[in-house]
Symmetry: C2
Subunit: 421 residues, 2 copies
């Protein structure tokens, strides 16, 4: 008997019909002789609708209250899913984040898991029941308040449960067949990957591949959780995300995939005095807002003025609070102005084989140059190169690069109905 954790996103449970379909799938896994734990997201667009309501009653909703509000979404879907399963004659019990022992820090809106104590989940399994856990949410012991893990938090919930329970596999159900060399909605000839290392998956997730969220992949890699990303519309194998153990040889392609990301904005702090510690001052202010900074570029200072510009990218949703925080400290830091650009796109190529293959950067820049695409910022890691372009030509750039690196498949990828997670 295996212990399987299954995660279903919002598009898989968007209405009563799809909830019943998911329930059937879960019941089939149970009847095949497995213990099953399910992490579930809010139905369809529930979270966005609740966010809209919050902004209608308050320009800047209180973070504690916002978490209380948003966590109702997963409670609705988990209770409905448990009911649907029970009406098929199989025992099921739903648990909120706090009931499932998802202990987090107190950072409302993007809390981090500090401990997982799934006592009641284990009790449910011991009784032969399927445990349904609300994704995305946790509980802070000190404040006794409900928290949320941020967007994509249901993936993290699933992986954290899989790690804590020692699950054999954590299945992430989505509306595509697995992980692709590029988003099949953008690149028609994108190929499904049968397997990918956790390291590569991490870079893909960080680069805007929405199939898995970065924190979930990080968590899986750190705890050696095997992920299986697969379609909730078929029973085909999807993509296995494997954690490579020390010394193990894995033959890696030079380039695993190309990712595009339109979720970031660029903030430029212009006219920063070129004196020691100013960058530290700025990023201390930014860090206090809880925003996640991605790329940072500091221009060479203009000799005449002894002032420099610092640009960084961050999730669009964090931009407003960072701008507010920086404006409040403008006099202290002494910069001249702030610029906000939300029309940027990020293109990344990822591949473990890059380590041992020089010239990937050159190949990327050449392909973009031939297509007349301008590069505004560059950042690299050991197995990834990312560049910032204008937002409106990002998809075109991804297609160009996918072809340039010889990733195009022979057939077109299947894309199912539904778009979100």
């Amino acid at each position: 008997m295996s212990l399987i954790v299954q995660k279903f996103g919002g598009s898989s449970v968007s209405d009563a019909e799809s909830i019943k379909r998911v329930a059937k799938r879960i019941v089939a896994t149970r009847k095949a002789g497995n213990d099953v734990v399910v992490a579930v997201s809010a139905m369809g667009d529930t979270t966005d609708e609740l966010l809209d309501l919050a902004h209608e009653v308050s320009p800047l909703p209180d973070p504690r209250e916002l978490d209380m509000l948003l966590t109702t979404g997963e409670r609705i879907s988990m209770a409905l899913l448990a009911m649907a399963i029970k009406s098929m004659g199989v025992e099921a019990l739903s648990f909120t984040g706090s009931q499932a022992g998802m202990i987090t820090d107190a950072q409302h809106g993007s809390a981090r898991i500090v401990d997982v104590t799934p006592v009641r989940v284990r009790e449910a399994l011991d009784q032969g029941a399927i445990a349904i856990v609300a994704g995305f949410q946790g509980f802070n012991r000190d404040s006794r308040d409900i928290t949320t893990l941020g967007r994509g938090g249901s993936d993290t919930t699933a992986v954290a449960l899989a790690a804590a329970l020692g699950a054999d596999v954590c299945e992430i159900y989505t509306d595509v067949d697995g992980v692709f060399t590029a988003d099949p909605r953008v690149v028609k000839k994108a190929r499904k990957l049968d397997r990918v290392t956790a390291e590569e998956m991490l870079e893909l997730a960080a680069s805007g591949s929405k199939v898995l969220y970065i924190r979930a992949v990080e968590f899986a890699r750190r705890h050696g959780v095997t992920l299986h990303v697969r379609s909730s519309f078929t029973h085909d194998e999807g993509t296995w995300v494997i954690s490579r153990t020390e010394g193990e040889e894995v033959e890696e392609p030079i380039i695993t995939g190309v990712a595009g990301d339109l979720s970031e904005a660029k903030i430029t702090v212009a006219g920063v005095p070129d004196t020691p510690g100013k960058a530290a001052d700025i990023f201390t202010i930014v860090a206090k807002t809880g925003a996640n900074i991605d790329m940072i570029v500091q221009n060479v200072s203009a000799a005449a003025t002894s002032r420099t510009d610092i640009s960084f990218t961050l999730p669009k949703s964090d931009a407003e609070k960072v701008l507010t925080a920086l404006r409040a400290e403008q006099a202290d830091v002494g910069f001249e102005s702030l610029q906000h650009d939300d029309q940027i796109g990020k293109l990344s190529v990822v591949g473990g084989g890059m380590r041992t293959n020089a010239g990937v950067s050159a190949q990327l820049f050449t392909a973009l140059k031939h297509a007349g695409i301008n590069i505004e910022m560059i950042s690299t890691s050991e197995i990834r190169i990312s560049v910032i372009t204008r937002a409106d030509i990002l998809n075109h750039a991804v297609q160009i690069v996918h072809t340039a690196f010889g990733l195009d498949g022979d057939t077109e990828a299947t894309v199912y109905a539904g778009t979100g997670r």
Copy 2:
């Protein structure tokens, strides 16, 4: 400084605009120098919509999961209300039933409060914040599960909090101006009562007056909580529900009001063997379902058959489960058939002065007879007489009786938009 508990029903918080209006009202009470605790219902029709969803995924939704599902409604409204208040610059904290210490028994769907330990509510008040508490919900300590108090549970939440906190008054906001001699939607010349005893209110609530729920009135009477039923659309005084202390003389009108109730159904257990203990058998079966029985009538047994019929009324929503339970035991009990009638209406006249005034029953029956209205069942208490009629003539009967007892006012009552609670 007074401590005021305010309860707002679903029609007072049906959308973002009305939530902001309620928030303003609460803030005004706080700024007038009072400590304020608020109990809030789910927005508009949320509870009914969630119930519909539950029935779409499961013919007979699991009670534990149903409570988990339904309690999200109040969590949404309380979080939005707290946000709205905070955005007006006043501190506010929302609490779920369990966070507010509403400890109940384990009867999902109609749990009873066994203890109220509002530690966090007190802490919030001590910090100068307004405490917003989710109505309708509680927490069972043994199962560690979330429970609901049944329909009208938000009134009970408000009164229980008022009792536990020693509040000066519990204000119940509604879409009418207070308690009337009859439903102003049915009887145009119904008069608002300035004050009513808790005892009379209890009978009115039990008789279908929807302005206050019976369990809330019971709780208020038992704990000496002063209720003030008033409109959320005006600042006028409403109706004060006073707990009469021992020996206090209150001049009571003979008839306080007339109530109509369309929420009940009648079940007849036909052909019950006329042997000792059969009624006990039947009502033991019914009690196990958790259904609340109202009126009971047992016919004289037909001598030829030694069998009798037992009829009782109960909330329509409980009928199906009671019928199912009885059918399952039909062979054991030995009755012949079950009849289900959901087209009944209940008319009640209530008044503390009835105690010392004979002839009220005769006056009621005469009025109904002159109007050609047939009476199917009768039940009485010390200060109430109720009769069952056909559902379609109930409103007419209420109007006739209101006039017959001289309750008609000189002007028409104001009825506001919105119908529910």
